[in-house]
């Protein structure tokens, strides 16, 4: 039952094989049994989930069912859910019962989906290992001494552990794709502006983008059909035609040109990783695609640019966490300055404080041009690399992350080493391009992901390519031995 995909559950519910209440209860029980090991959920909303499931079954009985009616999912705890604790993985919001719904949560509700709860994440989405949550680290279901990736580590781990068939995530520098790669699941970061950011607690506003994590590309397509919407409440949300992402899943790959950036296959990338990625690309060649080497010459500047822009934006975005209107407030503040400093000092974890401070420093008087402006100029160079590349190729492929999941604690003392994990994912956020990670092999029993990068608003093609790959391979069906 827990191995069923969203597409299967959807059709099973339609066929009356089981009810939404039945599968919801089944998964809730499974979470209760297993998640103490993985720690992928922060909040499980059993009562609300069962009420939603019951309502979905009633809607179905009344003849008002759509493809999502009664299908269970869970949300990364960055999405505000009305009346439900929304922590962003932080002590700062450990008492924040969101008073409104994010557009993403509202879209799923409107579609009839059932939310099982809220998923663990790196605090305020800052991290690549999910070791930075106030609610404790998330374990990788493939190897419990390894990290699940981050920041959407709870989402990827929950899907990998078959606790939920699909989960929402967000991606600011790789936070959907890298955990998807580490956990052997499928995740897509859409084009910036495709999914509304309303109610998605901001880390870095010009980089953040919501997207799905699921077992298959087909499921991700179904989820994106719900998540993508034009939302007038988000000034950066784009009013661009939204296709049915499931309609083109089986399109032919014949004639496709795949670009392989030489910067993604440098000497410091392991031979095993290169082999896995080349083997995956070869599958597409068998289907009639051709491969071309390309260059993205400013790749090495993406991380430095990101670590100016993201901290700068977050330093302002998190200023509202001041202990006045919501969230954590320190005990007995002496005066307003003390209220601010201790609430924030005690409420934020170290990595969050570091990024706030880096951001404030780079924006401070005298440094703006050297850091922020320069980073924004470099950002354009990074984007232009892709614009040039897409004149020659249809998609770009490479590894999602340089390695499979690393060991917990391995990089916690060295923030910079952690940042370099995002070398292949970060540039897309700077450019605003869509990217997907699909499981494409294993190294030492740990999954690795193929990253497929598309042109703006080309999500349908990415999902199509993911689906075609999953028709001829079974990496996406593999599960950790103890969960089989």
């Amino acid at each position: 039952m827990h191995n069923k995909t969203i597409a299967e559950i959807s059709s099973d519910l339609a066929a009356g094989k089981y009810t939404s209440v039945e599968i919801t209860e089944y998964l809730l029980d499974r979470i209760e049994q297993l998640d103490s090991t993985y720690n992928s959920f922060i909040t499980v909303t059993r009562d609300e989930a069962l009420a939603q499931a019951k309502a979905a079954d009633e809607a179905r009985a009344a003849g008002n069912a759509g493809p999502w009616t009664g299908v269970p999912i869970a949300h990364k705890d960055v999405f505000c859910t009305n009346g439900v604790l929304t922590t962003c993985g932080s002590k700062m919001l450990s008492n924040f019962v969101a008073p409104y719904d994010s557009t993403v949560a509202a879209n799923f509700k409107a579609a009839g989906a059932v939310s099982l709860g809220k998923l663990n994440m790196d605090e305020f989405a800052m991290g690549s290992s999910n070791e930075k949550s106030f609610y404790g680290p998330v374990k990788n279901p493939w190897s419990q001494d390894r990290v699940p990736g981050g920041s959407s580590g709870g989402s990827a781990a929950a899907v990998a552990a078959r606790l939920v068939p699909g989960a929402t995530g967000t991606d600011t520098g790789g936070s959907i794709r890298q955990p998807a790669s580490f956990c052997g699941v499928t995740g897509i970061k859409p084009t910036y502006g495709r999914v509304s950011r309303w109610g998605m607690i901001a880390y870095a506003s010009s980089l953040d983008q919501g997207g799905p994590i699921a077992k298959t590309a087909e499921d991700a397509a179904m989820m994106l059909n719900v998540m993508a919407s034009f939302d007038a409440k988000d000034s950066t949300c784009v009013d661009h035609e939204i296709p049915d992402y499931t309609a083109t899943l089986n399109n032919s790959v014949e004639g496709l040109t795949i670009g392989l950036p030489k910067e993604y296959f440098r000497d410091d990338l392991s031979a095993e990783m290169k082999d896995q990625i080349r083997a995956a690309v070869a599958e597409y060649e068998k289907m009639g695609a051709t491969v071309k080497e390309i260059s993205l010459p400013n790749t090495h500047l993406a991380i430095p640019s990101y670590y100016v822009i993201a901290p700068a934006e977050c330093s302002a975005n998190l200023s509202r966490m001041d202990g006045v209107r919501f969230g954590y407030r320190c005990e007995d503040p002496e005066d307003v300055a003390d209220l601010f400093k201790r609430s924030r000092g005690e409420g934020f974890g170290e990595e969050v404080k570091r990024r706030i401070m880096v951001g404030a420093y780079t924006l401070s008087a005298g440094f703006y041009d050297a850091y922020y402006k320069q980073a924004q100029q470099v950002r354009r160079l990074v984007k232009n690399d892709f614009v040039e590349a897409f004149k020659e190729v249809d998609v770009i492929m490479g590894p999602t992350a340089p390695t499979p999941a690393f060991k917990a604690g391995e990089k916690t003392d060295d923030p910079v080493a952690m940042y370099l994990e995002d070398i292949f994912t970060i540039a897309l956020n700077l450019a605003g391009l869509p990217g997907m990670s699909i499981p494409c092999g294993q190294i030492d029993g740990l999954p690795v992901g193929l990253q497929i990068i598309g042109n703006y608003f080309d999500e349908a093609r990415l999902l199509n390519l993911g689906h075609k790959f999953q028709q001829v391979t079974d990496w996406h069906q593999q599960t950790p031995a103890d969960l089989a």
């Binding site: 998605m200 988000d234 509202r320 919501f326």
Partner: protein
Amino acid sequence: MEWEVVIGLEIHAQLATKSKIFSGASTQYGADANTQACAVDLGLPGVLPVFNEEALRMAVKFGLAIDAEIGKRSVFDRKNYFYPDSPKGYQTTQLHYPTVGMGHIDIELDNGETKRINVTRAHLEEDAGKSVHEGFDGMSGIDLNRAGTPLVEIVSEPELRTAKEAAAYFKKMHSIVTYLGICDGDLSQGSMRCDCNVSLRPKGQQEFGTRTEIKNVNSFRNVERAIESEIERQMDILEDGGKITQETRLYDADKNETRSMRSKEVENDYRYFPCPDLLPVIIDDDYIEAVRQTLPELPDAKRARFVADHGLSAVDAGVLSADRALADYFETAAKLAGDYKLAANWVQGDVSATLNRLEISIAELPVTAEQLGRLLTLIKDSTLNNGGAKEVFNALVEGKGDGTVECVDALVDSMGLKQVSDTGAIEAIVADVLANNPKLVEGYLATPVEKRGKAMGPFIGLTRKAAAGVNPQVVMEVLKKKLEELG
């Protein structure tokens, strides 16, 4: 040493939009605390701003009114600072690309000359909330109803040289924004607030002295007084060989002095950067031209027209054009009566006196412009004399009318004020007056002919006393004739 005063003003004008600059919450003044603060205004996690088109239109309108460059691409920035009434920990404003660029206005000086004051820029931004310090048991209460109200901050060049000029500039800006209808101009509610930057330098010196900023002055009179007291304070320090500390000060109107603001002591590093939740605002020439079409006649143009077309003095025209509501009232009455000068006298006389006495605005005056126009018409056609008209006016002020124009005529009748212009009737009254005052007549006849005009005064007074409502014009003619007959 002789000092030169350098003053620059930053005026915050709240834009009269219905909803806030970045949210759909109401901007109405006076609501219960935090009942008009929505999720966006509260800065809850996850909320996002969307820009109000009317705020943009109003800012562009202002820019056109002061002949400014209009920013075809304006960008919102975040100005970072922590304060309990600043819910996001930053204010959304425009640093490098304001909607309104360099413009100018003219102010009238006491000597009747005008002085051009350049306006550096006017940028759009959001207002903050309010802290209430009393009544919370040693705590402060935060009300965020005002948070997110759209503001234009109008920044002048440091070209003002006296406190009077500064007050005149503030008044002129008030006049312009209320003419445009983009701000209600209500100073008592904080709809317009003024920060005054003041410094002194030895006369002839090029570089500026150290300035202080007096925050949040909210009346014309206080702008003048606050600056004057600050000039004195600075001059005392400088004359004693001291140095001015660059700081923010508050004006205490009761003590008529400025004092240092403790909370702003730490020099802030605002860390401005473009707001990533908002995109550049782009407008084109068509947009700007469409807004230009909606510009009303502005105070300067109106004043010039009052002088050129209707023969008013520059001073009268200035007074009558400064406030749009007053100007509209005046012109409506003047047109109905067909006499701008008469209307000017009345509006600056009885109308203004009444407004001052009752401390009300022109909109609240019980006498409508149409009623005044009718009253003036009745003076013009000699139905009423000036005194009678005043009586009717006062009756209307006291609420005796019903708001209609017709009630003016009804009051004239019921109060028996219709002027006697019938020569026969007046001749009889004059004959009586002359017969009853033989000594005055003797005195008059003894007066040399060239001085007799003045000596006629007492007879006029007596005649009018004998019969209220006599037409003084006719009285004069009859008196002249009768007295001439006597000698």
